[in-house]
């Protein structure tokens, strides 16, 4: 276990905690107090830590996401569904995501009517209504067009060689690329604003 900690930079106490919480499978027991870990443990431990620390997920949510990697049916579409479901922000379920469903349908997007991201979108749209700055269909359509291009980049990046790798890529793409996208958007806003500033 100390070698596992050294290889990943994750403190031994955290490794123990993740083992206890089921984020990391047990090693092969080689004695009463000894166990052997292999390369797959190193990979899984790094993934678990990143999901918790960068993705900001609770340990329970991280366990659900990692469990999606271990299901028998690991087609891209299934794993994506499982990962999105497990990774969905906890959004109050008070309203049906009516407008979000209509929008997705208007754009020709085939999504499950209970997809958690629909509630996520509906919740965000309601918040914009509440502050008196409702999202216009036009701005949403432009965002949707760009989001679709981002998704094409994401899906093209999923390897087709092994389902294990595909599943891992989907989880990483969902959890760890979201902060990349948000950081890039903020930097781009500053850059665009600087360009305008110069010309005013």
């Amino acid at each position: 276990m100390s070698e596992l900690s050294r290889a990943t930079g994750v403190p031994v106490a955290t490794v123990k905690y993740y083992l206890r919480e089921g984020l990391l499978p047990a090693g092969r027991a080689t004695g009463a107090t000894q166990a052997q870990y292999d390369e797959s443990h190193v990979t899984r431990l790094r993934l678990a830590r990143s999901i918790v620390q960068v993705g900001g997920l609770s340990v329970a949510a991280a366990r659900d996401v990692l469990a999606a990697l271990d299901t028998s049916d690991r087609s891209l579409h299934r794993v994506l569904g499982a990962a999105h479901y497990a990774l969905a922000p906890q959004v109050a379920h008070e309203h049906d995501p009516t407008r979000a469903r209509e929008l997705a349908s208007a754009w020709g997007w085939r999504v499950h009517p209970e997809a958690p991201a629909l509630r996520q979108l509906e919740h965000a749209l309601t918040a914009l209504d509440d502050v008196g700055a409702p999202a216009t269909d036009e701005r949403l359509a432009r965002y949707a067009g760009l989001a679709h291009q981002i998704a094409e980049v994401d899906v093209a990046d999923v390897p087709t060689t092994s389902t294990e790798e595909a599943a891992t890529t989907v989880v990483i793409g969902t959890v760890l690329w979201e902060p990349v996208l948000l950081a890039l958007r903020r930097l781009a806003q500053e850059a665009v604003s600087a360009e305008l500033h110069d010309h005013v």
Copy 2:
């Protein structure tokens, strides 16, 4: 105060809390236990609640963001800077954002070398390195191109009529459109994956 609560749907206890924490300016005192609130209080209260509930900010962080709306220099560029700084996720400052700076410069983006989003990006890139799935320059460049187009939509949406409205739009665009973008990306991933699934 009960009218303010009725107009916004925010419970009286929350209104009191926001007043105490400085998220909402005091009303005009009309008696020992009475104060008058106007339309600007309604707007500000809705914005404060959305930043906390949808943006997921702490009350202290929300106060900093709202304070940016009240500064005397409210050029778009200044307000954007103040909002981004206040809204930056708390990222450990252990490393200089060297790679993030180089990327922004390679894309021709003029951003402040201490912009919080650079650290946000560097942190996310390090997390991808840690899980053994480093971001390639090619994928980052494609993301950056799309993020720039999103930022153009955002900046075009900022009204030039009044600095108060411009500042409010910037805060809303930063905090409340991020969840919209993330939800759209997940829905688009499902749609793109469904298209592929059909053809396999």
